[in-house]
């Protein structure tokens, strides 16, 4: 009897757990059906496309794109989309197989196209650093790419797209200026970045920081460091006088916490590949960068 | 720790009343009634699958009866730890990392009790038991290194160390050469000296006739229980063994019976 109950429960569990949330296809009202991979791309696409597109974002807020596993609903979204905007540069490794398996007719647009990729620090990877959005000037290129793609698919609204992109570019330039002024508060010798994985390359290059090291020694969040790598990192932190280690949603924070407490520095949270919910501190890209810069400046001043 | 149920003085050491055991829908034992006196030496014979091991397991309290009663010195078996079951050698894991002394000491852990360690007196008992069976020079050998006869004697020593008053031996003479068998049978004399009651399951009807006080002929039912010449008649044997036969010499002449002996008798887990 007991045994039968267990078996029955085991068989029913998958049914009870499967969630049926997810985007429902919008009413066909002539708007371009657009899919963005993550919330950051989505934010920029939304600002350029505004009322003329029907936008869905694939990865919910808080997800790490590095090891994202697509679900059946995602395949459905991919199939009905007309344009798919991805960050590109090797960030969304799950995307190509998904496109192939669904055989979708959507156009794929990598918004980082045209940006010269920085090499990954200390590795002999052939791919470059995918975190292009850490420099707002790159996002200007994003906006241009998005406007071009939307215009090609929907020429009627070309003027709207161009106008939105131009307006956003102005905001981005303002952001850039603001960042420079904030960063100026950090003395030169403190401009040392230690992160959980190689996230801040473009930020460092643009605003005069050095990426001293990462916990995972990798551009991706999947790796686990060896004792030698951790020891080397701690040595560097001590030698160079690094003041904080920056962690994000990607990598297990316990390792960073231990390193921070062992070396006497702070573990500071930044957002790396996702925005937050509307009531959180980083609901838009501009807020995202402001939050991060404040965190960085606050820690290193 | 274990309430060692007090032995009632005038009761037979073992009293079985209308015992029946069913499992898996099969009848293993049916309406068995008998009793044993202290110090008796009884042989239990019968064909394979007759229920000899089952009987021993119910008597020792390992298996519950389906109906009927088992009393050890007036009380049910559950309260006693003075019943030793000596297993068939084929059922033992000889590769287990234990020495002869380890195995014998295992019999004593009922007396040692929870959360305590064997004392000097426990070790003395163990050594005495080993000496009694002649295994003391080999007490540090791993049990897999022993011969069949030595293995059997080790388990007998365990029963002694357990201070058992009733010892049930499941086919101890199987696969032993004649000298080893004789050695085991000689040890049974020692047990008798200590007033230990012994039941031995065996296939050897000749030995049953010559070395035991009484013989129980079993085939799911109790065919006959009594002195060998009353039990081991051709009529009884045919009733018990059915078509099997083995050659033995009994009082009224030679009777031929053959028996498919030995491996994997009662397979109760």
């Amino acid at each position: 009897m007991f045994r039968k109950v267990i078996l029955l429960m085991i068989m029913l569990l998958p049914l009870s757990v499967s969630s049926c949330s997810g985007g429902t296809p919008a009413a066909p009202d002539g708007k371009l059906k657009v899919l963005a991979t993550n919330s950051i791309v989505g934010d920029v696409v939304n600002l350029v496309g505004a009322g003329n597109i029907d936008l869905t974002v694939l990865m919910p807020v808080g997800t790490d794109p590095h090891d994202y596993q697509p679900r059946p609903q995602d395949a459905a979204e991919v199939t009905v989309a007309q344009i798919i905007f991805a960050s590109g540069a090797g960030l969304e490794t799950f995307l190509q197989p998904l496109l192939e398996s669904t055989g979708t007719k959507a156009t794929l647009v990598e918004v980082s196209a045209g940006i010269t990729l920085l090499p990954l620090p200390g590795s002999n990877q052939s791919t470059g650093d995918p975190h292009t959005w850490m420099n707002p000037n790159n996002v200007i290129i994003w906006a241009e790419n998005i406007a071009a793609a939307l215009s090609a698919a929907d020429p009627a609204h070309t003027a709207d797209y161009q106008m939105n992109a131009t307006a956003y570019t102005t905001s981005l330039r303002d952001l850039d200026a603001w960042i420079r002024s904030k960063v100026a508060q950090i003395p030169l010798q403190n401009r040392l970045l230690v992160t959980d994985h190689a996230v801040l390359g473009y930020f460092a290059e643009q605003y005069g920081f050095t990426q001293e090291g990462t916990i995972t020694g990798s551009f991706s969040s999947d790796a686990a460091p060896s004792a030698q790598e951790l020891a080397a990192l701690e040595d560097k932190i001590r030698q160079m006088g690094v003041k904080a280690v920056f962690v994000s949603e990607a990598v297990n924070q316990t390792l960073a916490d231990q390193i921070a407490s062992d070396t006497g520095i702070k573990a500071v949270w930044i957002y790396h590949a996702t925005l937050t919910a509307p009531e959180g501190p980083a609901p838009s890209y501009l807020d995202f960068m402001r939050y991060n810069v404040n965190a960085i400046v606050g820690a290193l001043k | 720790m274990y309430p060692h149920t007090h032995h009632q003085p005038d009761q037979p050491i073992l009293d079985v009343q209308h015992l029946s055991v069913n499992y898996d829908g099969r009848v293993a034992l049916e309406d068995i009634t008998f009793h044993l006196h202290t110090g008796e030496r009884v042989a239990v014979v019968g064909p394979n699958g007759a229920g000899k091991s089952t009987l021993f397991k119910v008597v020792s309290g390992v298996l519950p009866p389906t109906s009927g009663e088992v009393k050890i010195s007036g009380n049910g078996p559950r309260g006693h730890i003075c019943i030793a079951y000596v297993p068939q050698r084929s059922q033992v894991d000889w590769r287990f990392p234990a020495s002869v002394a380890d195995v014998v000491m295992m019999g004593r852990i009922g007396q040692v009790g929870f959360f305590r360690w064997p004392r000097r007196s426990d070790w003395d008992t163990v050594h005495a038991a080993l000496e009694a069976v002649g295994m003391d020079p080999m007490e540090n050998r791993q049990i897999g290194e022993l011969s069949g006869g030595q293995q059997q004697r080790t388990f007998l020593a365990r029963a002694l160390a357990q201070e058992a008053e009733l010892v049930l031996m499941d086919e101890p003479l199987n696969g032993l050469d004649t000298p080893s068998q004789e050695a085991i049978l000689a040890l049974l004399d020692k047990l008798r000296e200590q007033k230990i009651t012994v039941m031995v399951a065996t296939h050897d009807l000749g030995q049953a006739a010559s070395h035991f006080d009484r013989v129980m002929l079993l085939n799911h039912r109790l065919v006959r229980f009594g002195v060998p010449q009353d039990v081991l008649t051709s009529e009884n044997l045919l009733r018990a063994y059915g078509g099997h036969a083995q050659l033995i010499k009994v009082a009224d002449g030679t009777t031929a019976l053959a028996d498919s002996c030995c491996d994997g008798e009662d397979e109760h887990e």
Partner: protein, 284 residues
């Protein structure tokens, strides 16, 4: 000589190495001692299943209590104990064979865990680190938990040594001696669950069964009495932990794997070269 001294001491000038060392030695010893029973009673599959069955507990813990390592530890422990007792119960009603019962529980618990995790969609690495081990991120608090529960396991095994011995060797003797076999068996299962929960942080799910089985298997080749086996197994477990950490430091290998590979190498050496019985001698 001074140089050798330096080589041995240098890694431990880092606090995280020191904590990692203590944690992995404790885990190595506890797994090795419990592993003696695992090997003896043929429970390696069960041990592996137990490690995987922890996943839904951890997932639930993450959903309900957040991602602190403490929470995850307790949830993992709860799931492990539940699974251990459930398997014990199911295999008693033995119309299903024990390894089939284990297989069913194993797969379904693991699948349940993955299903739960997929509803969260942002679980990622907190859980994966818990499952793959993170010995270098051991905090002092983790160490306390590890020591306490590791100690509980070792003390319990010590206290019930002779009863577990009898139960493993001769269950019929256990019954004739009126040992509470059902209860004792459940205690052993719970000890295994405790061991699995404690060891997860060091070597993670995938490598756990190696720590349970390998030192004990090596010891079984070298010893002929149970408690000798436990001592030798514990020494091998501790040694593997220490050596594994040194290897991780000097050769840049992930620590959990280094520990397991050391234990396996020791096993192979013993298997091949043990006096009289080693494979190498037999071939001649």
């Amino acid at each position: 000589m001074n140089n050798l001294f330096n080589i041995l001491l240098k890694p431990f000038s880092y606090d995280f190495m020191l904590r990692g060392l203590v944690a992995s030695v404790i885990v190595g010893v506890v797994c090795a001692v419990v592993g003696v029973y695992v090997v003896l009673r043929g429970m390696a599959f069960f041990g592996d299943a137990l490690a995987h069955a922890v996943l839904p507990g951890v997932a639930l813990g993450y959903l309900i209590g957040g991602s602190s390592r403490d929470t995850l530890f307790w949830w993992a422990l709860g799931a492990a104990v539940l699974m251990a007792l459930a398997v014990g119960r199911i295999s008693k009603h033995a119309q299903i064979r024990e390894d089939t019962a284990i297989g069913i529980m194993f797969a379904s618990m693991f699948a349940l865990g993955i299903a739960l995790i997929s509803t969260v969609r942002s679980y990622s690495v907190d859980l994966s680190h818990f499952l793959f081990g993170n010995v270098l991120g051991v905090s002092t608090r983790d160490l306390v938990l590890t020591s306490v529960f590791g100690g509980v396991v070792l003390v319990t095994i010590f206290l019930f040594y002779k009863e577990f011995l009898v139960m493993s060797f001769d269950p019929v003797l256990a019954a004739t001696l009126r040992l509470p076999s059902g209860l004792l068996n459940n205690i052993l299962l719970v000890l295994m669950a405790l061991t699995v929960s404690v060891a997860m942080q060091t070597v993670g799910v995938a490598l756990m069964v190696a720590m349970l089985v390998t030192p004990a298997a090596t010891a079984s080749l070298l010893t002929r009495r149970l408690w000798h086996g436990m001592v030798v197994s514990a020494v091998i477990g501790a040694f593997s932990a220490v050596t594994g950490l040194y290897l991780s430091y000097y050769f840049n290998i992930v620590s959990g794997s280094a520990i397991v590979l050391t234990a396996t190498t020791i096993f192979l050496l013993v298997f091949l070269f043990q006096p009289h019985r080693g494979l190498v001698w037999k071939k001649r």
